[in-house]
Amino acid sequence: MQSSTMDKAKTPTIIRELNFGEALQEAQLQTMESDKSVMVIGEGVADPKSIFRTTEGLVERFGPDRVTEMPLAENGMTGVCIGLSINGFRPILVHQRIDFALLSLDQIINNAAKLHYVFDGKVTVPLVVRMLIGRGWGQGPQHAQSLQSIFAHIPGLKVVMPTTPYDAKGMLNSAIKDNNPVMFIEHRWLYNLKGDVPKEPYLVPLDKANVVRKGRDITIATYSHMTIEAIAAAKELAKHGVEVEIIDMRCVRPIDIDPVLASVKNSGLLLVLDTGWASCGVSSEIMARTAESAFQHLKKPPKRITLPDFPAPTAKSLTDDYYPDAETIVQGVVSLVDDEQKLPSKKICEAVRRTSLRDIPNPAYVGPF
C-alpha cells in the first residue's frame, strides 16, 4: 500500500514499522524541527495524554510557545490561527473531535477558505486543522460524527483523510507545507494500525487517490477506516475468486476520480464506501462523478455503503449495526457481482464477521496492509 507518488529520498531511507498515530507525531516533530514557523495549537496538545500521543514529546522539545494549549474557544482560536498563518506562521490546529469544529465553521468557511481568493492572492492561509473522527465506546451523537463532506463542499479548502501510517506522515508533511487551509481528518480507529514508514521526511500529494489493491471484478472506492474494512473483505472474497480493486481516495477535496473511472472501465461495477452519512456526502460525489464520466462502462447501478440516516446512538446494542464493516461490504460486493455459485455470501460473511466486541477497534486489524 506504498504510494507510488512518494518523493524519492536522496539518502538511503530507513524504513521502520510505525503505527498511524506515531507517524503523525513524527511528521509534526520533523517538520517543526526543520521549519520554525510550524506551531501546534489545541486543547490537549501539551497535556499528559497529548491527543492520543500524536503530539507526544512536542512541548518538551519545542516549548509552550510552539506547542500551545488553548482556551475552549474553537471559532476564536481558528481565527487566531488564520491570523498567525497570514503573518508568517504555519499553525496546526487540533480538535480532539470533529464535532467541536462545528463551532468554528464561520472562520473556516468564511475566512480560511476565502481570504486568498478575495484578496486576489495577497494573503495565504497555510493552516492545517487536524480533526479526529471516531466512534465506539459510547461516544454518542455529539462525539462520533464523520463530517468531512461539509468541508469537502467548500472551494478553497483541501480535505484529506489518509488510511495508512505511510500516508499519515507523508500527507501531514504535505499539508503543513501547503499554502492553503488543509482539513486533515483522522479516524481514531486507525491510530494503532502499523505500517512501514520511512524515517526521513517525505511528501505524499494531497490530491491523489491510490489503488491499494488490484482486481478486475469490482471497484471499491473508499477512504479512511473503511479502506481497512474493504481490505479484509477483499482478502476473503479473493479466496472465492472475486478480485476486488480497492481505491483509497485519500483526498475528499479535491476528489481524484480518475483512478475510479479507470477501474470501473475494467470492472463495470462500483461500490462506494463512506465513514459518514449518505445525503450530500462524499459517497454521493463519487457516484455522481462516476455516473457523469464512466456511465457507459457501468454494467449495473453503482451502490454505496454509508452510515444509516440517523445520529449515532450510544448503547453498544444500538451501535453494533450502525457501523458498516467487512461483512456489510461482502454483502455489497455479492449483491453487485451476483453470482451465488461463485460467492456463497453466508460463508464469506461468516469468515469476515467480527468476533470481538464491535465498539472498540478491531484487534484483528493491525497492519501492515
Binding site: E43, G44, A46, D47, P48, K49, E69, M70, P71, L72, A73, E74, N75, G76, D99, F100, L103, W137, G138, Q139, G140, P141, Q142, H143, P308, D309, F310, P311, P313, T314, A315, K316, S317, L318, T319, D320, D321, Y322, D359
Partner: protein
C-alpha cells in the same frame, strides 16, 4: 464558612450529597468490568454545588447540565435507576440507551438535559428561562458549567441576552481550575471569572463550592433574586475534581496537578465538612451516619440491580426518534 444555617436542611442536603458520592463510587468500582461502555465524567469532590444549588429549586424549575452531570441530575431529583440504566445502555435508561452518561434527561424531575458539547446547554437554559418569563411563570432555569466553558463565546452571548431581557436563568460556574488536564492559568488570564459576569450586568455570587452551607446560602439568594424578577444571576464556586477528567480513577500519577494528594482532597471534601457540622450541631452519632449510609447503599445497589434486570434496547429501534411526529 458558616457552619450553621437555619434556612437549610442539612440532613437532607447531606443525604443528597452522599447519594451522589456513593453512586459515583459504585460506577467507578464497576467501571473496570467494561459493562458501562461509554465515557464517564465523575463529579466526586464537587457534590456540594449541585446539591446546594438544587436545594432552592422546585420541581417545575429546570436544570441543564453538561458532560459531568450525574450529580446535577441526581440533585435535581432525577431517577437514579434510569441514570444507571442509561450508563449501562439499557432500554430503561433515561434516554433509552441513546445517550449514555453524557446525555441525561428527566423531565418529570425538571432535569431538562445534559449534553457533552461544552457550552451546548447554556443558551438552552436562557431560552428556557425566557419561555418562563414570557409565559409569566415563576420558574427559573439553571445551567451548570465549568471554568473551561466560560471561555466559549456562546456563554457571553447567552449572558448578554439574559441580561438584556432580564431572564430568570442562573448560571452556575463550577470552577475546578481544570479543563481536562489543562489548568486555568494556561487558558485564561489572571482576573476573575465572576467579574466578567458582573460586567455583563448579572447578579454575582462567589463562594467555596466545597462548602454546602455557602453554596446553599448563595444559591438560595440568587434563585430568589431571579425568581422575583431580578434577572439572570451568576454563581461561581471554586471546587476540586478528584478523579481524572474522564474515567473512574485518580490520576495523580500523571503529575499534572502536583498539589494533589489524598490529604489535599480530604481537606476539600464537601461531605467531611457536612459530617462535622452534623456531629457538632445536629448531634448526629455514629448510628445516624451508618443508618444513612445503609439507606444510600441500598438505594444505589437497587439501581444497579434494576439495571442488570433491564433489557438491552432493541437494535431495530436504533433509528426511531430521528424525527418527531
Amino acid at each position: 464558612m458558616k457552619s450553621v444555617d437555619s434556612t437549610i436542611d442539612l440532613p437532607a442536603l447531606y443525604h443528597s450529597m452522599l447519594r451522589i458520592r456513593r453512586a459515583e463510587e459504585a460506577i467507578a468500582n464497576r467501571y473496570h468490568e467494561q459493562q458501562m461502555r461509554c465515557p464517564v465524567h465523575l463529579c466526586i469532590g464537587e457534590e456540594a454545588i449541585a446539591v446546594g444549588v438544587c436545594a432552592s429549586l422546585t420541581t417545575p424549575d429546570v436544570v441543564y447540565g453538561n458532560h459531568r452531570s450525574h450529580g446535577h441530575y441526581m440533585a435535581k431529583g432525577g431517577d437514579l435507576n434510569a441514570m444507571i440504566a442509561e450508563i449501562y445502555g439499557k432500554s430503561t435508561g433515561c434516554c433509552g440507551g441513546r445517550g449514555g452518561s453524557m446525555h441525561l434527561i428527566d423531565n418529570t424531575a425538571g432535569f431538562a438535559g445534559a449534553v457533552p458539547i461544552v457550552g451546548g446547554t447554556v443558551p438552552l437554559a436562557v431560552g428556557a428561562g425566557w419561555s418562563f418569563k414570557l409565559k409569566e411563570e415563576e420558574r427559573v432555569a439553571v445551567v451548570f458549567f465549568g471554568d473551561g466553558c466560560f471561555e466559549e463565546g456562546v456563554l457571553h452571548e447567552a449572558m448578554n441576552f439574559a441580561a438584556l431581557k432580564k431572564i430568570p436563568t442562573i448560571f452556575v460556574c463550577e470552577n475546578n481550575g481544570m479543563s481536562v488536564y489543562t489548568p486555568l492559568t494556561d487558558r485564561q488570564p489572571v482576573r476573575s471569572i465572576s467579574g466578567i459576569a458582573r460586567a455583563h450586568g448579572l447578579g454575582v455570587y462567589t463562594g467555596d463550592g466545597n462548602d454546602i452551607f455557602e453554596v446553599a446560602h448563595l444559591a438560595g439568594e440568587a434563585i430568589a433574586q431571579a425568581r422575583s424578577g431580578g434577572g439572570p444571576q451568576f454563581l461561581e464556586f471554586k471546587t476540586y475534581r478528584w478523579f481524572g477528567h474522564v474515567g473512574h480513577e485518580f490520576d495523580d500519577d500523571l503529575g499534572y496537578r502536583p498539589d494533589e494528594t489524598p490529604q489535599f482532597r480530604e481537606d476539600r471534601c464537601p461531605l467531611k465538612r457536612a459530617e462535622a457540622a452534623l456531629s457538632q450541631n445536629y448531634g448526629w452519632q455514629d448510628g445516624d451516619f451508618s443508618a444513612i449510609e445503609q439507606r444510600v447503599k441500598e438505594e444505589v445497589e437497587a439501581a444497579f440491580q434494576f439495571t442488570f434486570d433491564s433489557p438491552e434496547p432493541n437494535p431495530n429501534t436504533s433509528g426511531d426518534h430521528t424525527y418527531a411526529e
